[in-house]
């Protein structure tokens, strides 16, 4: 076995995969020295809780006799639970509209920033990303105050125009929440798109330009295919994120008049109120597992397979 002439050349990056599997035939446990700590922590806070949740979902608390084995009765009850399905419907509608919109905006933004045709590229890159660093609590508070019809910006707008706009009314509230989530995550998704665009070698653009490609053709034939790769990861994160919707509606609950945001507004809020206010943690565990299965199934169906291929 011989090494290439210098310690590291550009070609070595491609060779890494090969040379790291040189010792394939010998059982090589050295990696576990480094993998071990992560694996132990992962077992403790990920694997064991999931197994525990599956276990307790087969039990229920009875008035007489305490906690007893109940088979699938929690799951049967869940499938007939109107509150649960209404919350699933709500987050599904939310995901269907908010996620594509947010990703579309993010991709446009990434293309604009990557086009090098903007004055102040750096400013745009950092300023559109900043909302990601704001805690959900703070962004919901700011937007919630601004939405307020009494002393918020919407209130000022109404008194100028004589309109009676109410962004916190029950029929439009989900859109208002969608706006907060879009504000928080567009920059983050933009950055993932932008990072993958920035890996395209410039010589490719030069070659395309020499061949007479227009800017639109470069976007269409070179940049869009590159974006498709990072689309997998952003789509999965967006789906998981919006199915777990909790922070924004739960923080807004008492900024919104009346009982518009119920305790079963989203599946997460329902599980929270079941286990912490309702003392029905076994039922909540069943709910959590069903939600996990639904989310994973959708994520898999949409993109996970292509992600796996890239990870090989």
């Amino acid at each position: 076995m011989t090494f290439s002439k210098s310690a590291a050349g550009p070609a070595d990056v491609a060779n890494n995969q090969q040379s790291s599997t040189v010792n394939k035939h010998r059982r090589d446990w050295r990696g576990w020295k480094f993998m071990g700590p992560f694996a132990v922590a992962f077992l403790l806070v990920f694997i064991i809780p999931i197994i525990y949740a599956i276990y307790i979902s087969f039990f229920e608390k009875r008035m007489v006799g305490g906690t007893v084995f109940a088979g699938l009765s929690n799951y049967k009850r869940l499938f007939a639970d109107g509150h649960f399905w209404s919350s699933v419907g709500r987050v599904s509608a939310f995901t269907l509209i908010q996620a594509p919109l947010c990703l579309f905006l993010a991709a446009l933004l990434a293309l604009a920033i990557d086009s090098m045709r903007l004055h102040g590229t750096k400013f745009f890159r950092i300023s559109t990303f900043l909302p990601y660093a704001v805690p959900a609590v703070v962004s919901t508070l700011i937007w919630g105050f601004m939405y307020g019809a009494k002393y918020g910006l919407v209130g000022s707008f109404n008194s100028w125009t004589g309109l009676h706009l109410d962004l916190l009314a029950s029929n439009i509230l989900l859109v208002s929440i969608g706006n907060i989530v879009t504000w928080e995550y567009t920059g983050y998704n933009m950055l993932i798109f932008y990072s993958s665009l920035s890996t395209i070698p410039h010589s490719l653009y030069e070659a395309a330009a020499i061949d007479g490609a227009s800017e639109w053709q470069i976007v269409r034939r070179i940049k869009m295919p590159e974006l498709r790769g990072s689309l997998a990861i952003t789509v999965i994160f967006s789906i998981i994120g919006s199915f777990q919707l909790f922070n924004e509606p739960s923080i807004m609950q008492n900024m919104v008049p009346g009982n518009t945001i119920t305790s079963y507004y989203t599946p997460n809020m329902y599980a929270y109120s079941l286990s912490f206010a309702g003392n029905q943690s076994n039922y909540a565990a069943a709910l959590a597992i069903v939600m996990a299965v639904i989310t994973m199934a959708i994520a898999y169906a949409v993109q996970l397979n292509s992600l796996k291929e890239q990870m090989k």
């Binding site: 806070v45 090098m116 300023s127 959900a136 990861i233 998981i240």
Partner: protein, 324 residues
Amino acid sequence: MTSDILDESPSAIRARERRRAKRVARDERAERKRAAKNGFSNPANPRRSMTLTLVTGIFALYCLFPFAYLIINATKTQPDFTSTFGLWFGHTFALWDNITTVFTYEDGIFGRWLLNTLLYVVVGAGGATVLAIMGGYALAKFTFPGRKAVFAVVLGSISVPGIALAVPQFLLFAKMGLTNTPWAMILPSLISPFGLYLMWIFSEQAVPTELLEAARVDGAGEFRTFLTISLPLLAPGIVTTALFAIVATWNNYFLPLIMLKDANWYPLTIGLNQWKNQANTAGGHAIQNLVITGSLITVIPLMIAFLILQRYWQSGLAAGAVKE
């Protein structure tokens, strides 16, 4: 088995690696300059566009004006907050008063929340970064038994919703007597699947395997090789992983909400929300000016971190994207 590289000491190899990186960077800079001069920075249409800048500017405005709202309203007194226009200053400039009141209200509990948050970030996000660095390095540079299984399990875990974990985590922690202690916040923060993914890809690209082989031949132990050779090469990836772990921990709301009941252990996020809710409780008076000023104080440290470390995390992310 002829190779001159095996005769060199790791330090000489490192020095050469540094020189090479410098040379590459210099070449790239020259290349960019040349490209810009030839009008090839964007070959099809090299001129900057005012229209595109304006359209993107509208979106940037959307991203930034809530910050303006936050800063402007942090300078208002409570009566001004409810009576004057949201995007302009009030009658009195009360920013310093507000900041003092935030830190003295309820015996200075806000300072306590700030320290709690720092504790959770340093131990939780710091630990998460260390675990992700080592795990990612192992996945990239070693073929160990069970590597594929680790891979599949971590990949699958990305799509497990937080709530599916949080409820059983709470029940288990309650059994062990860990709820209402800092551990309830720190232990779950230690795992960052995204960080692991990032460090794995980054290690694969940034650490030449030949360098590790050379160090091994020289008799350096795995940990020494890791500390002296690999870690310095991984710096941009580490900054990126650390920043994202810090954001996740600093901004976490759900976990402390279920784990902590004692206000003395609250992080900033839960504390602020409690102040906001005070207006709705019977007899409680509204302190929105404090909520807004407290929010501003909560946001500023992360903003500064992102701005200062821009160069590192952007190159770290770019490297992470190569794989995609």
